[in-house]
Amino acid sequence: MTELMEDIFNPTTTTATTMETVESLKKALNKTQTSSALFIAVTDSNEENGIISIVKEKEEVDILLNFEKA
Protein backbone atom coordinates (compact mmCIF):
# COMPACT_ATOMS: atom_id res chain seq x y z
CA MET A 1 0.00 0.00 0.00
CA THR A 2 2.82 2.37 0.84
CA GLU A 3 4.23 1.92 -2.63
CA LEU A 4 0.90 2.64 -4.27
CA MET A 5 0.51 5.79 -2.27
CA GLU A 6 3.89 7.26 -3.03
CA ASP A 7 2.71 8.52 -6.40
CA ILE A 8 0.02 10.57 -4.72
CA PHE A 9 1.27 11.91 -1.48
CA ASN A 10 3.73 14.70 -1.09
CA PRO A 11 4.48 15.75 2.47
CA THR A 12 6.14 18.98 1.40
CA THR A 13 2.89 20.56 0.27
CA THR A 14 2.06 23.85 1.89
CA THR A 15 -1.26 25.10 3.16
CA ALA A 16 -1.02 28.18 0.97
CA THR A 17 -0.68 26.06 -2.13
CA THR A 18 -3.63 24.00 -0.97
CA MET A 19 -5.93 26.97 -0.62
CA GLU A 20 -4.88 28.57 -3.89
CA THR A 21 -5.47 25.29 -5.63
CA VAL A 22 -8.87 24.83 -4.05
CA GLU A 23 -9.95 28.26 -5.22
CA SER A 24 -8.75 27.72 -8.77
CA LEU A 25 -10.47 24.34 -8.87
CA LYS A 26 -13.74 25.78 -7.62
CA LYS A 27 -13.55 28.44 -10.28
CA ALA A 28 -12.91 25.89 -13.00
CA LEU A 29 -15.61 23.54 -11.80
CA ASN A 30 -18.24 26.26 -12.04
CA LYS A 31 -17.71 26.17 -15.79
CA THR A 32 -18.62 22.53 -16.18
CA GLN A 33 -22.39 22.76 -15.88
CA THR A 34 -22.97 21.87 -19.52
CA SER A 35 -20.28 19.25 -19.69
CA SER A 36 -21.25 15.68 -20.44
CA ALA A 37 -19.12 14.54 -17.54
CA LEU A 38 -19.43 15.39 -13.91
CA PHE A 39 -16.42 16.45 -11.95
CA ILE A 40 -16.16 16.52 -8.21
CA ALA A 41 -13.61 18.58 -6.38
CA VAL A 42 -12.28 16.93 -3.29
CA THR A 43 -9.82 18.55 -1.00
CA ASP A 44 -8.00 17.11 1.90
CA SER A 45 -5.64 19.24 3.91
CA ASN A 46 -4.63 16.36 6.14
CA GLU A 47 -0.94 17.01 6.78
CA GLU A 48 -0.35 13.33 7.37
CA ASN A 49 -1.13 12.26 3.85
CA GLY A 50 -0.24 15.56 2.22
CA ILE A 51 -2.83 15.58 -0.52
CA ILE A 52 -3.12 19.06 -1.94
CA SER A 53 -6.01 18.62 -4.26
CA ILE A 54 -7.94 16.10 -6.19
CA VAL A 55 -10.28 16.78 -9.03
CA LYS A 56 -12.20 13.61 -9.49
CA GLU A 57 -13.92 13.01 -12.76
CA LYS A 58 -16.97 10.84 -12.79
CA GLU A 59 -18.30 9.84 -16.17
CA GLU A 60 -22.03 9.80 -16.69
CA VAL A 61 -21.68 7.41 -19.58
CA ASP A 62 -18.94 4.88 -19.58
CA ILE A 63 -18.40 3.37 -23.00
CA LEU A 64 -15.90 0.58 -22.83
CA LEU A 65 -13.98 -0.93 -25.67
CA ASN A 66 -13.81 -4.42 -27.11
CA PHE A 67 -10.41 -5.94 -27.69
CA GLU A 68 -8.68 -8.36 -30.00
CA LYS A 69 -5.16 -9.65 -30.47
CA ALA A 70 -2.97 -7.45 -32.61
Binding site: L4, E6, D7, I8, N10, T12, T13, T14, T17, E20, T21, S24, A28, L29, N30, K31, T32, S35, A37, F39, V42, I51, I52, S53, I54, V55, K56, E57, K58, E59, D62, I63, L64, L65, N66, F67, E68, K69, A70
Partner: protein, 158 residues
Amino acid sequence: MNPIILGGILRNFYDSLDMAQFDMRLKIQKVVYLMKAKDMNLGYDFSLYLYGPYSIELTRDAFQISDLVKNFSGIDKVIPSDKKEDFSKFILELEKDSRKDNPVWLEIVASYLFLKRIGYESDKEIIKRIKEKRPDFNIPEDEIKKIIKEINEGGFFI
Protein backbone atom coordinates in the same frame (compact mmCIF):
# COMPACT_ATOMS: atom_id res chain seq x y z
CA MET B 1 -10.20 -4.24 -16.10
CA ASN B 2 -8.63 -7.60 -16.75
CA PRO B 3 -4.90 -7.05 -16.08
CA ILE B 4 -3.95 -9.30 -19.00
CA ILE B 5 -5.90 -7.11 -21.41
CA LEU B 6 -4.40 -4.01 -19.86
CA GLY B 7 -0.98 -5.63 -20.25
CA GLY B 8 -1.78 -6.40 -23.90
CA ILE B 9 -2.63 -2.75 -24.50
CA LEU B 10 0.48 -1.46 -22.74
CA ARG B 11 2.58 -3.98 -24.66
CA ASN B 12 1.97 -1.83 -27.74
CA PHE B 13 3.99 0.93 -26.11
CA TYR B 14 6.53 -0.72 -23.86
CA ASP B 15 8.64 -3.86 -24.00
CA SER B 16 8.88 -4.25 -20.27
CA LEU B 17 6.86 -3.29 -17.26
CA ASP B 18 8.95 -2.51 -14.22
CA MET B 19 6.44 -1.23 -11.72
CA ALA B 20 9.22 -0.63 -9.21
CA GLN B 21 10.20 2.40 -11.30
CA PHE B 22 8.33 5.63 -10.66
CA ASP B 23 8.77 6.74 -14.28
CA MET B 24 7.17 3.53 -15.51
CA ARG B 25 4.16 4.00 -13.26
CA LEU B 26 3.85 7.61 -14.40
CA LYS B 27 4.08 6.67 -18.07
CA ILE B 28 1.37 4.03 -17.74
CA GLN B 29 -0.97 6.46 -16.01
CA LYS B 30 -0.53 9.13 -18.64
CA VAL B 31 -0.71 6.83 -21.67
CA VAL B 32 -3.97 5.28 -20.44
CA TYR B 33 -5.33 8.74 -19.65
CA LEU B 34 -4.40 10.01 -23.12
CA MET B 35 -6.20 7.01 -24.59
CA LYS B 36 -9.27 7.99 -22.60
CA ALA B 37 -8.97 11.57 -23.82
CA LYS B 38 -8.99 10.17 -27.36
CA ASP B 39 -12.20 8.22 -26.65
CA MET B 40 -10.46 4.93 -26.06
CA ASN B 41 -11.70 4.42 -22.56
CA LEU B 42 -10.29 1.48 -20.67
CA GLY B 43 -12.74 2.08 -17.84
CA TYR B 44 -10.58 3.93 -15.36
CA ASP B 45 -11.64 7.08 -13.53
CA PHE B 46 -8.85 9.59 -13.24
CA SER B 47 -8.28 12.36 -10.76
CA LEU B 48 -5.80 15.19 -10.96
CA TYR B 49 -2.93 14.58 -8.61
CA LEU B 50 0.54 15.98 -8.26
CA TYR B 51 1.85 14.52 -11.51
CA GLY B 52 -1.36 14.92 -13.49
CA PRO B 53 -4.22 12.52 -14.14
CA TYR B 54 -3.97 9.45 -11.94
CA SER B 55 -6.13 6.39 -11.34
CA ILE B 56 -5.46 4.28 -8.30
CA GLU B 57 -7.39 1.37 -9.84
CA LEU B 58 -5.04 1.48 -12.81
CA THR B 59 -2.03 1.35 -10.50
CA ARG B 60 -3.49 -1.70 -8.76
CA ASP B 61 -4.11 -3.46 -12.08
CA ALA B 62 -0.65 -2.62 -13.39
CA PHE B 63 0.91 -4.04 -10.23
CA GLN B 64 -1.14 -7.19 -10.80
CA ILE B 65 0.36 -7.55 -14.28
CA SER B 66 3.87 -7.22 -12.96
CA ASP B 67 3.03 -9.76 -10.26
CA LEU B 68 1.69 -12.19 -12.87
CA VAL B 69 4.38 -11.90 -15.48
CA LYS B 70 7.93 -10.70 -15.78
CA ASN B 71 8.60 -8.11 -18.47
CA PHE B 72 5.38 -8.84 -20.36
CA SER B 73 6.51 -12.36 -21.21
CA GLY B 74 3.55 -14.35 -22.48
CA ILE B 75 1.38 -11.30 -22.95
CA ASP B 76 0.24 -10.74 -26.52
CA LYS B 77 -0.42 -7.29 -27.89
CA VAL B 78 -4.08 -6.37 -27.76
CA ILE B 79 -5.83 -3.60 -29.66
CA PRO B 80 -9.30 -2.08 -29.32
CA SER B 81 -11.22 -3.87 -32.09
CA ASP B 82 -13.63 -1.04 -32.79
CA LYS B 83 -10.96 1.68 -32.68
CA LYS B 84 -8.18 0.09 -34.69
CA GLU B 85 -7.41 3.09 -36.86
CA ASP B 86 -7.51 5.58 -33.98
CA PHE B 87 -5.32 3.32 -31.91
CA SER B 88 -2.74 2.98 -34.70
CA LYS B 89 -2.59 6.76 -35.04
CA PHE B 90 -2.36 7.08 -31.28
CA ILE B 91 0.66 4.76 -31.19
CA LEU B 92 2.35 6.75 -33.95
CA GLU B 93 1.73 10.02 -32.11
CA LEU B 94 3.29 8.65 -28.96
CA GLU B 95 6.25 7.22 -30.83
CA LYS B 96 6.95 10.60 -32.41
CA ASP B 97 10.04 12.07 -30.72
CA SER B 98 9.78 9.23 -28.16
CA ARG B 99 6.93 11.01 -26.42
CA LYS B 100 5.86 7.77 -24.73
CA ASP B 101 9.20 7.69 -22.91
CA ASN B 102 9.20 11.35 -21.97
CA PRO B 103 7.58 11.72 -18.51
CA VAL B 104 7.56 15.53 -18.77
CA TRP B 105 5.78 15.54 -22.11
CA LEU B 106 3.27 12.97 -20.87
CA GLU B 107 2.61 14.83 -17.62
CA ILE B 108 2.10 18.18 -19.34
CA VAL B 109 -0.10 16.92 -22.16
CA ALA B 110 -2.25 14.69 -19.94
CA SER B 111 -2.68 17.51 -17.40
CA TYR B 112 -3.48 19.98 -20.16
CA LEU B 113 -6.19 17.76 -21.62
CA PHE B 114 -7.61 16.95 -18.18
CA LEU B 115 -7.88 20.63 -17.25
CA LYS B 116 -9.49 21.40 -20.61
CA ARG B 117 -12.06 18.67 -19.98
CA ILE B 118 -13.02 20.05 -16.59
CA GLY B 119 -13.61 23.53 -17.93
CA TYR B 120 -10.38 25.50 -17.87
CA GLU B 121 -10.53 27.68 -20.95
CA SER B 122 -7.40 29.76 -21.38
CA ASP B 123 -3.97 28.28 -21.87
CA LYS B 124 -2.66 30.88 -19.46
CA GLU B 125 -4.87 29.52 -16.65
CA ILE B 126 -3.98 25.96 -17.53
CA ILE B 127 -0.25 26.62 -17.53
CA LYS B 128 -0.57 28.31 -14.14
CA ARG B 129 -2.48 25.30 -12.79
CA ILE B 130 0.04 22.85 -14.22
CA LYS B 131 2.88 24.74 -12.56
CA GLU B 132 1.01 24.81 -9.24
CA LYS B 133 0.34 21.08 -9.20
CA ARG B 134 3.37 20.32 -7.12
CA PRO B 135 5.92 22.52 -5.42
CA ASP B 136 8.90 20.83 -7.08
CA PHE B 137 7.60 21.25 -10.63
CA ASN B 138 10.44 23.09 -12.30
CA ILE B 139 9.83 22.81 -16.02
CA PRO B 140 10.36 26.26 -17.57
CA GLU B 141 7.18 27.96 -18.74
CA ASP B 142 8.60 28.23 -22.25
CA GLU B 143 8.92 24.47 -22.39
CA ILE B 144 5.31 24.00 -21.26
CA LYS B 145 4.13 26.52 -23.84
CA LYS B 146 6.14 24.80 -26.55
CA ILE B 147 4.54 21.43 -25.79
CA ILE B 148 1.04 22.90 -25.66
CA LYS B 149 1.59 24.77 -28.94
CA GLU B 150 2.85 21.58 -30.51
CA ILE B 151 -0.21 19.53 -29.58
CA ASN B 152 -2.59 22.32 -30.53
CA GLU B 153 -0.98 22.64 -33.93
CA GLY B 154 -0.73 18.89 -34.36
CA GLY B 155 -4.46 18.61 -33.87
CA PHE B 156 -4.46 14.96 -32.86
CA PHE B 157 -4.99 15.34 -29.13
CA ILE B 158 -7.24 18.41 -29.32
